[in-house]
Assembly symmetry: C2
Homo-oligomer: 200 residues x 2
């Protein structure tokens, strides 16, 4: 059985939890309290030298890290990953966008706010507003007239972007001016076997 090294509030961990649930794959979840330094112990660094969750243990001693790489591993050969070459590349495009242009602003802001670091990072939180809203704008431009990010159906791209977008308010980002994103969130939540971010 897969073991998932995870931190329950993490959207990156949630991506993997959500896909595993929707694929009907049982797994053992192991909580790593990153606030207590548990992702930087020598024991954990043997699993992922980069010191980050999530990590999926595929079989004893074989570890895969990076949430979007885990999604691709699990999604191969399923309906969550298109076969068409361009659609496949578009899923990659959105997942790269998520890690580079979305997560560092929206997820990081949420992390600071959730863990009472707002005063410590007051200036940085302000600096993250413009690029975070820019990322939401890029998503809105697609979603205002398409049901999903790629190929007009639910794929790994939606899982990757949904994870932190649907809790953007917890990072200080309002979705009020993004009706396309809000309707998409409803569509994602209506998918079979959907689970919320708080579910282990």
């Amino acid at each position: 059985m897969y073991k998932l090294y995870d931190f329950l509030p993490s959207g990156n961990g949630y991506k993997v939890r959500l896909l595993l649930a929707q694929l009907g794959i049982a797994f053992e979840r192991i909580e790593i309290d990153i606030l207590q330094g548990e992702s930087r112990t020598p024991e954990f660094l043997e699993k992922n030298p980069n010191g980050r969750i999530p990590v999926l243990e595929l079989e004893p001693g074989v570890y895969l890290s990076e949430s979007n790489a885990i999604l691709v591993y699990l999604g191969q050969g399923t309906n969550f990953l298109p076969i068409d070459r361009l659609e496949y590349a578009r899923v990659m495009q959105w997942m790269c966008f998520e890690q580079y242009s979305h997560e560092p602003y929206i997820a990081t802001s949420r992390f600071w706010l959730q863990h009472n670091m707002a005063n410590q990072y007051r200036k940085e939180l302000l600096q993250k507003q413009a690029p975070g809203y820019a990322a939401l704008g890029v998503m809105e431009q697609r979603l205002v007239n398409h049901p999903f990010l790629v190929a007009d159906r639910y794929t790994l791209a939606d899982i990757a972007l949904y994870a932190y977008t649907h809790v953007a308010d917890e990072g200080g980002f309002s979705l009020e001016n993004f009706p396309g994103i809000r309707a998409w969130i409803d569509r994602v939540q209506a998918q079979p076997q959907h689970i919320p971010i708080t579910q282990e």
Copy 2:
């Protein structure tokens, strides 16, 4: 013929140029001077709403963005992308690592230093030293006893990480204490049809 919207000093653009050269695929390169705002014009934003190069125009009006997604698109079915499921996921893992844990520190520092913004970003440059060296440390741990990042042969993972690592000094990062990385750079440069970052 493919059109590549590119900025010559960019390592992200170079990844695509290098792979195209090594695949023997002819392309037209179109310089977008990002310093002059050419990646944020209405015309360019129609190609990539996220306003970044590189963008590959696959056929007239069909655009693919995100350097690593372009690598995957071009690499499908070639020796640069392993077929084995776990090796394939490891390529994804390293490419995600590159975008999240490496590029924002090493490439961004290089950009500021190259374009005479060192004074303006003095504090940020200092802040990027520790995470940048941490990323190099993660690479070193692999490369000190393996010839390449994945599967002991040259793959897209090496192209993605080589782009900014081999010019890390231009970002203020010394490779002196990373003998594994230095030997790997030599191996990458010895690959057939290798081109330098300055070659159009």
